[in-house]
Homo-oligomer: 213 residues x 2
Amino acid sequence: MAKKEISQAVIQRLPRYYRYLGDLMDQGVERISSNELSKRMKLTASQIRQDLNNFGGFGQQGYGYNIKNLHDEIAKILNIDEEHNMIIIGAGHLGQALANYTNFRKRGFIIKAIFDKDPAVIGKHIGDTEVFPMERIDEIIRTYDVKLAAVCIPKAPAVKVVEQLIADGVVGIWNFAHVDLEVPSNVVIENVHLSESLMRLSYRVGEIYRDKK
Amino acid sequence: MAKKEISQAVIQRLPRYYRYLGDLMDQGVERISSNELSKRMKLTASQIRQDLNNFGGFGQQGYGYNIKNLHDEIAKILNIDEEHNMIIIGAGHLGQALANYTNFRKRGFIIKAIFDKDPAVIGKHIGDTEVFPMERIDEIIRTYDVKLAAVCIPKAPAVKVVEQLIADGVVGIWNFAHVDLEVPSNVVIENVHLSESLMRLSYRVGEIYRDKK
């Protein structure tokens, strides 16, 4: 099969397909038609067929999609068919929430360490790992060949720490700090700006009341 | 000034403008040109002028933008110029992280209560509030006229709790549960699916390696 370019819009939707297919597998369902999947996902059946055709068209006329095959194929595309070692910077509530999130491990994201500068939390066990002092970042990244880091510290220290992470070989930054980090072109950033998400909700709530007037 | 329709793309960018303008105010800056703002935000100056013209064009030729005016105006549009009472469902790590997040209060989101079914955490003080039993949701929503709720519980109980929240008058759901909730048209949902965000990061990290091959 020739490798096709997959559009960004499809990539945006892929994790959602992956979640729905995973839920269906958990329910013991083996096949699903594009019509049935479209009802569940509130997409048109033709949109689904178009999206899934990107991955070789696993649907068979009259039989529907083999859920496990499709789930596996999407996992490959999302690069989650193999394990990734990951670290978390910051053992505040958010860092601890991420470390305790068993879903990540299920999807192959193995959290090797959490780092914090606060002596009161260093040594604490969280989820399957523990809190290490910031001084050990370099060593642990190298030991476990860590490529992914979640950054859960305030924006001022985040900028410097991210430089260090990149120098140590991290190529994917999951950024929860409220700052737009500048990174070289061979490093990717996925931002989760919670305040901005809450403001968008607030805007849309405001819209409801404006519409009523 | 006649009220103009503002595009969704501009709305998406507004919280980011708000953040940059807030940072500038914190630094004591009073005015900024669109050129200078464009350098900081990595947008073109013409994009910035176009976006900000939506709100009455506060820029003056040769003087630039009055940062405080613009910040206030964006706050109005985002519906954060007045306070909003908010509750959090679930006092796990994520719920606690949100409750402890002082930035929300600064922006007028006042967390009135956190709810949990676990007797071990009920009564615990978190941030400026405390953990109440789920049975008190109705009463507290009515007492404080709560319109916003953050949902930080697993997907199975989330569906039922959200129905209750809506029946009680909540119109904005900030959903962290890994499920697409169905809500009436006069209720808005803002989803934060952390697993999906992490998968998008993983996909893009995979792209880096593919590009190298």
